[in-house]
Symmetry: C2
Subunit: 194 residues, 2 copies
Amino acid sequence: MKIKEEMRILGIDDCPFDKKREKFVKIIGVVFRGSKFMDGVLSTKVRIDGLDATQKLIKMVNKSSHKPQLKVIMLDGITVGGFNLIDIKELSEKTGLAVIVINRKMPNLKKVKKALLNFSDFEERWKIVKKAGKIKRFLTKRGKFIYYQNVGVDDEDAEKIINLSISRSDIPEPLRVAHLIATGIKLGESRGHA
Amino acid sequence: MKIKEEMRILGIDDCPFDKKREKFVKIIGVVFRGSKFMDGVLSTKVRIDGLDATQKLIKMVNKSSHKPQLKVIMLDGITVGGFNLIDIKELSEKTGLAVIVINRKMPNLKKVKKALLNFSDFEERWKIVKKAGKIKRFLTKRGKFIYYQNVGVDDEDAEKIINLSISRSDIPEPLRVAHLIATGIKLGESRGHA
């Protein structure tokens, strides 16, 4: 893969939601040139605890005018809208883009499994979790460990991409900014970490 | 006024809306360090063609956790949500911040007046337009003319601030990014210019 300082990365995050009052949640996508310059903002919505995130994200990416420039999709974990799981292999195949999943902590798969057991379609959801592949630990250029999964890009390149996407924060800019937008438009003011 | 390369600027823009189907429009505020780094996102909503924008913006700014760092509010014209006029003198006084209004073209005040004459409270609205003061032309560091109004900051400093807020676009970053967010979250993909 050709790694350029300003390669186009799409960072994706979901808005906060109130499960008691809402059925759908807005998903924000931010197109960044590396860690430097915001090119655009995309959005879609998915069902809270549904299983439509993979298809909705594929559609959002493929119909975007930014598609020809995009190289990488970055996700904050493999779920949005509660337990709406993203099949990252399918997302990568159907968009032709590399997918890198960022976790700030090592995900606790036992806890995830326990939560998913509450769903009648547990088998299908758990299959998507396992399909996402091995979680790797990486010490970023800022001296912090992050945990990632990758499809469509090898480990060495994924780590280069993570490093070039980081600016003054420990979180890659496309994800940090997607999170600021997702919380800011819903809560009146952005908060917390991606 | 102390002008610093990374002074905190709040750029404000409104979402697109459909007057036939909607009564309120979301307003997006983006906190930027000069033209460099996004610190946060604020939001509020105002009535389409209402007259509540000034108060809503004052509230949004004053309750924000970014308030102590903020120095300047940048607006894309003096209206949001159709003809919901912003009293920039009041906005500056009640927030204690400088306000700079950016126009990409010289506003046609005759056209504005004609449109405002359709409102029963024309006098009040027209007073806010006149109160916004003289519109000045400025050749930015990128060699493009922009037209601005300013309160709480003199012309020389306002022009320095406009220049430092510009990066690779002719539009100041806080306004460019506010516009990308406002259109992207509403239309599914950002478009056009602030």
